[in-house]
């Protein structure tokens, strides 16, 4: 197992260099000069342009710029944002807890509903429940996030006034946020009602961000369960007279989980992509909106650094998922 982990970690290195190169190249391939964008309609003199070019290192050849960037990255320096002038590293870690908190909640929501929905659909294959659940999953998967979010806001925040419109917590509450996770910080603050407010603010964004993973997990669980339910050992279990609950819950679901976990791992990318729209609509101060704004402003250091950090996160999550295979399926662990 240790060798397996080490070999997986070693594959990180070329991936890391590759991601660094892609993130460096991606933003530069896009048309648009960050200095011109910064100057806007106002424009600037050639002398001022040359001065700023030199300041940002754009007067250097591309390979030199990449080398400087790479050596910076290795030393933990991702550069400073052109716009806010603050270190990319500081900005990312100030915003990332909000995205992580939302993504975890969305994933838990998707799992809590998606797994049972998939199991129920599989054991009722072809019946009403199966069709209803799978049609709903298809709708959920196809729903444009911005439309779904606005619909929920209008109904639950506007008309019914059950949930707040946006933000992470009521503005009434104000306390230090050492972890950046609002649920934890609000509990730690000891202010009455703060935690409840944080939970209420999480409900709609969680549903919106969790909808697509929920649909994917439900469909994947259903198809994996169907495959397993057709196996000989399930028939044997039935013949032995085991209860349906035990067969489905223990024998079938555990074996059906491997492909489902793969999907969960891959959903991390989807979650981060979905977070961009969800965060914008719900004024959620995470990295999604930060990245989009930076692309439009051609804020090279933020786009490069942000992409790199996100890629590392996705790699770490997928590594963790691979480790989990071993926990669920001892055959993989022994290999």
């Amino acid at each position: 197992m240790l060798n397996y982990i080490l070999s997986r970690i070693l594959t990180f290195i070329p991936t890391f260099v590759g991601v660094t190169l892609i993130s460096f190249g991606f933003i530069r391939v896009l048309p648009g000069d960050p200095i011109i964008v910064m100057a806007g309609e106002r424009g600037m003199s050639d002398a001022r342009y040359a001065e700023l070019s030199a300041q940002y290192g754009f007067d250097q050849p591309l390979y030199k710029q990449f080398w400087d960037y790479l050596t910076g990255v290795v030393q933990g320096d991702l550069g400073n944002s052109f716009v806010t002038k603050r270190p990319v590293w500081d900005e990312f870690f100030a915003l990332f807890p909000a995205t992580l908190e939302l993504s975890i909640c969305a994933m838990l929501f998707a799992l809590a509903l998606g797994l049972p929905a998939g199991v129920i659909a599989a054991v009722n294959r072809g019946k009403f429940f199966d069709r209803a659940l799978m049609s709903t999953a298809l709708i959920g998967y196809s729903m444009p996030i911005f439309w779904w979010a606005l619909l929920l806001i209008i109904v639950f925040s506007g008309n019914l006034q059950w949930t707040p419109v946006s933000g992470r917590i009521d503005l009434l509450y104000y306390f230090p946020d050492p972890t950046g996770f609002m649920l934890i910080d609000s509990l730690a603050s000891g202010q009455s009602g703060a935690f409840k407010s944080a939970v209420r603010h999480l409900i709609l964004p969680t549903i919106v961000l969790g909808t697509i993973p929920l649909a994917v997990i439900a469909r994947q669980t259903r198809s994996a369960m169907l495959e397993v339910l057709g196996e000989d050992y399930i028939r044997t279990a039935r013949a032995k007279g085991l209860s349906t609950g035990r067969i489905n819950g223990i024998h079938a679901l555990r074996n059906a989980l491997i492909p489902v976990i793969t999907v969960i791992g891959l959903s991390v990318g989807t979650l981060l992509a979905g977070a961009i729209l969800t965060e914008t609509i719900f004024s959620w101060p995470g990295i999604g909106k930060w990245m989009v704004d930076s692309i439009f402003r051609r804020d090279y250091p933020v786009v490069q650094g942000g992409l790199l950090l996100i890629a590392v996160m996705v790699m770490v999550v997928n590594l963790t998922v691979d480790m989990l295979y071993g926990v669920i399926n001892p055959k993989i662990r022994k290999r």
Partner: protein, 529 residues
């Protein structure tokens, strides 16, 4: 903001609870500020969060007007030759304090000199701090204009200029000229954290900065030692809400008191809602179509005028601005002094336009219209505008191709002297001075740059250059009216529209004034019980 202050204020708010909230004004802002040192940035979002609540300037724009009034300078004198301006500073003005800094002295001449020296002097230790790009200082030509700044005494500062510059006092009221504390800057430099000047601002303004969480919230408290009229609310909160529909929902739900930039499509609904107040004012902007006056046949003023007569501007206002704009006939907006009411706009008359084109011998004309890829206050949908113009021009036999580029490319390529085609663009004023429109956008110096019509008319240029040297607003007005007449006669642009700015708020908000320069200012805004 250190954890210490955050904790202390947090505990204070926790104990004060709901009663404190009753005195809090919540503004749903459209985005995060880039930072809190206004001289480093150029966006209105940043100025709303920094220069307006936290800082003051030597002169100030009277809220709701473009008129300059005394600020941190009680008065000023311009020398007879116009080459020096002496400011007499207000005494007894104290800077804010925070957990890391408590001022030991009041505001004085050293702060004024430091404010400008760090922007213009590369030897100043703060010149390169926080990225050190002083774009406004540079784009307002301050490095060329100011030859030196002298401290006459602790409360008198003299600016020596290289030329007479009538808009100088208005420039001093602009956001980049916000006065920062030299004592604070020195203390932060000594502590090894000079960037704190940008991150935890210390000013003399009506609100003190309390805390900021990027993309979420900015908090301010009333400055009880403010030298002017104190703010009407105890605290000011910016709830950062980028989506306009969500901002509106928040105002309706009572989560915000005021919001800016509503969706044009929502305005009618807002105006008919009982518990929502909508204020409106023409923005200090202009949207235009600039021909390349150096390329035939657009070097012929009659051809340009004929094209202008083919554009149905009312249809553009209805469709593109959805009513939230008005037809522009001059290159400066009607809220600006010297705007010439008597200008007669080109009549929409396709038949006459066709005849004019034929009289000039122009046949089978082809024209590229450049449509901006971004939304701007002066042009909410350039693509749609270009399509409407394409249809209008086709009626007079002009074949239009619409082109667009990524925004940075667009700005760069549209400046080229040999650009092929007419470009849709616009401008939002900086300081309420007509020179800021006419010289920047139409002066000979701007050819190949911000003068997208590439239009250099000697007569026009002489008039605006002369106006710049006069201090009498009356005399300047006469010259600017003359300039507007030349502009209308020569038609380097088709002036399209001035957008209308809407502010949406709850009925309990009192005293809000829409500022023509576009800022959102809450110094004198209160809440009724």
């Amino acid at each position: 903001m250190s954890i210490k202050t955050t904790l202390a204020t947090g505990m204070l708010l926790a104990t004060v609870g709901t009663s404190a909230m009753a005195q809090s004004l919540v503004y749903c802002s459209e985005g995060s500020p880039e930072g809190f040192d206004p001289a480093l940035y150029t966006s209105g979002t940043t100025f709303d969060a920094s220069s307006h609540p936290v800082y003051n300037r030597l002169s100030e724009f009277k809220v709701g007007t473009t008129e300059t009034v005394p600020g941190l300078a009680e008065s000023w004198e311009v020398s007879e030759d116009g080459l020096s301006v002496t400011f007499n500073l207000r005494q007894g003005v104290s800077f804010h304090s925070n957990a890391d800094f408590t001022p030991t002295r009041d505001f004085n001449a050293d702060d004024v000199i430091f404010t400008f020296d760090r922007q213009g002097n590369s030897e100043n230790p703060y010149n390169q701090v926080s990225g050190g790009s002083w774009e406004y200082y540079s784009s307002m030509s301050m490095p060329e204009l100011v030859s030196s700044i002298e401290k006459v005494d602790d409360y008198t500062v003299k600016f020596n200029l290289t030329r007479t510059e009538a808009p100088f006092i208005a420039n001093m009221a602009m956001d980049f000229a916000s006065i920062v504390s030299k004592e604070y800057a020195d203390a932060m430099m000594e502590a090894g954290t000079p960037e704190m000047v940008n991150q935890a601002p210390i000013g003399t303004g009506p609100f003190t900065f309390q805390a900021y969480q990027k993309d979420a919230v900015i908090r301010y408290l009333r400055n009880d030692n403010y030298w002017g009229d104190p703010a009407k609310v105890e605290s000011l909160i910016f709830a950062i809400t980028p989506d306009a529909s969500v901002r509106y929902q928040k105002v309706q739900a009572g989560e915000c008191h005021v919001m800016a930039y509503p969706n044009p499509a929502d305005v009618a609904d807002m105006q008919s809602a009982e518990d929502i107040v909508v204020m409106e004012q023409e923005g200090l902007n202009v949207g235009y179509l600039a021909y390349n006056t150096q390329m035939p046949p657009f070097d012929n003023a009659n051809v340009r005028k004929a094209l202008n007569m083919s554009i149905d501007k009312q249809a553009i206002i209805d469709v593109v601005f959805q009513g939230s704009g008005e037809i522009a006939k001059n290159p400066i907006p009607p809220t600006m002094w010297s705007y010439d009411e008597n200008t007669v706009d080109d009549e929409y008359n396709p038949e006459a336009a066709m005849e004019m084109l034929a009289a000039e011998g122009v046949e089978d004309l082809e024209l590229k219209i450049w449509a901006m890829p971004v939304q701007r206050p002066y042009n909410p949908n350039a693509r749609r505008m270009a399509e409407l113009m394409q249809e209008d021009f086709s009626k007079v036999g002009v074949d239009v191709e619409i082109v667009s580029y990524e925004w940075g490319e667009y700005l760069e390529r549209s400046s080229d002297v040999d650009r092929d085609g007419a470009v849709l663009l616009g401008w939002t004023g900086d300081n309420g001075d007509p020179d800021n429109f006419l010289a920047v956008l139409l002066g000979c110096d701007g050819v190949g740059g911000s003068n997208r019509a590439q239009w250099c008319n000697e007569e026009f240029d002489a008039v605006i250059q002369e106006a710049k040297t006069l201090s009498s607003q009356e005399e300047r007005t006469a010259l600017y009216e003359e300039a507007q007449a030349i502009f209308k006669d020569q038609a380097p642009w088709a002036t399209i529209a001035h957008s209308v700015v809407f502010m949406t708020m709850r009925p309990e908000v009192e005293g809000y004034v829409v500022h023509p320069l576009g800022g959102h200012i809450f110094n004198q805004v209160g809440l009724s019980e």
